[in-house]
Symmetry: none
DNA sequence: TTATAATTTAATTGG
DNA sequence: CCAATTAAATTATT
């Protein structure tokens, strides 16, 4: 479980800056029926995800490795901001317009996630050459999340609007879906890879 | 595949200055069994890398994109020197890191590589959602090298000795591993980042 | 088995 | 140089 308190605080802080930032593009139905601000709240708990407890589903964890009691897992996103985060946040960057036109080569626009400890490094699955850690018993279990349909639908929707969400957008998505921001990032990476592979095949398949 | 003839010439030139320069620190076994000079030669081709043809592995490329015939890929490092290399030699400087600390950049020592054309692009921008994610047809293919174990072991060995090899050392490493000098530099950058991330809890992970 | 989450690593971008 | 992020490839889980 990569619960990162520091990152949660940063996410909370950056979410408080929402007003200065372009908001997520939401489905049209949202604008018709609902206030926009209500969609920046998490999914209502009235429809609890089947297997998801916190922001991340842990399929078969809470082994003996789980030591940290994970204080306030359900409310970490709403936790009070306690860090000024006065570095690395430049609200007005606008390298990207909502129509999907990128002004320069990079997709990495807007606010970037600061350097936080995530992915504890000692748990490499692969026997790297320099990792001379013979104790495979300490190896952490491979954790695989599974997102419910509500979450997936929302992610797919956002993917349509912007397959390269910056840190700010990922925080908003995280806040809504209750999926931690790093998992959101991984989801988009995998989604892009899948999209890329699909298009690559379709490019060459027409001459069959 | 960033084959840069001009850079190869520079590499060759600087390698010719080896006598005036400190030599790579090599594993102890080298001193016992082999002449030092023999290790400044490339890895013997008697053990050909499985998928590596030249200095760079191209997993599934050499498609229609590959246009340049890459003249003398295997011997570019030994090419005759033709450029005096009288520019870009600065010994010492201070540099600032985003964490707010000024570090004495004692790593950046010796000869530095002059600017080379890392050119490219001018690629057309994308307009539709499907084209935001670049595919191989639209964009120059992202080429990912993969170094074999012999190369990786040698690089790791050198990293242990000096995580900040200057241009001269990188040329030597390039000459031995048959990995182009820019790739060597990228490898060390990524390696330092990984090392930094692994023990970022320590006081100053910038000190190796 | 496929689908997909997670991990590793080379490469890129911008500062 | 560094931080962050990307693509590519692979591994692991369901």
């Amino acid at each position: 479980m990569d619960h990162d308190v520091e990152l949660d605080q940063i996410v909370s802080t950056i979410l408080s800056l929402e007003e200065d930032y372009p908001v997520l593009v939401l489905p049209q139905s949202v604008y018709e029926n609902t206030m926009l601000s209500s969609f920046l709240q998490p999914f209502p708990s009235s429809q609890p995800p089947e297997k998801i407890q916190g922001p991340l589903l842990c399929t078969e964890v809470e082994e003996q490795i789980q030591v940290v009691p994970s204080p306030g897992l359900e409310t970490t996103h709403e936790a009070e901001a306690s860090k000024p985060l006065d570095q690395g946040i430049l609200a007005e960057e606008m390298h990207h317009n909502p129509q999907g036109m990128f002004l320069n080569n990079t997709h990495s626009k807007g606010v970037k996630r600061p350097f936080t400890e995530e992915e504890e490094e000692g748990c490499s699955r692969y026997t790297s050459i320099d990792d001379i850690i013979p104790t495979s018993s300490l190896k952490k279990k491979y954790q695989r999340a599974q997102y419910n349909e509500e979450q997936t639908t929302f992610l797919l929707d956002q993917f349509q609007e912007d397959p390269y969400p910056d840190f700010m957008k990922r925080c908003q998505i995280s806040n809504i879906t209750r999926i931690s921001e790093p998992r959101v990032q991984v989801w988009f990476q995998n989604r892009r890879a899948r999209h890329r592979k699909k298009n690559q095949n379709s490019d060459n398949s027409y001459d069959f």
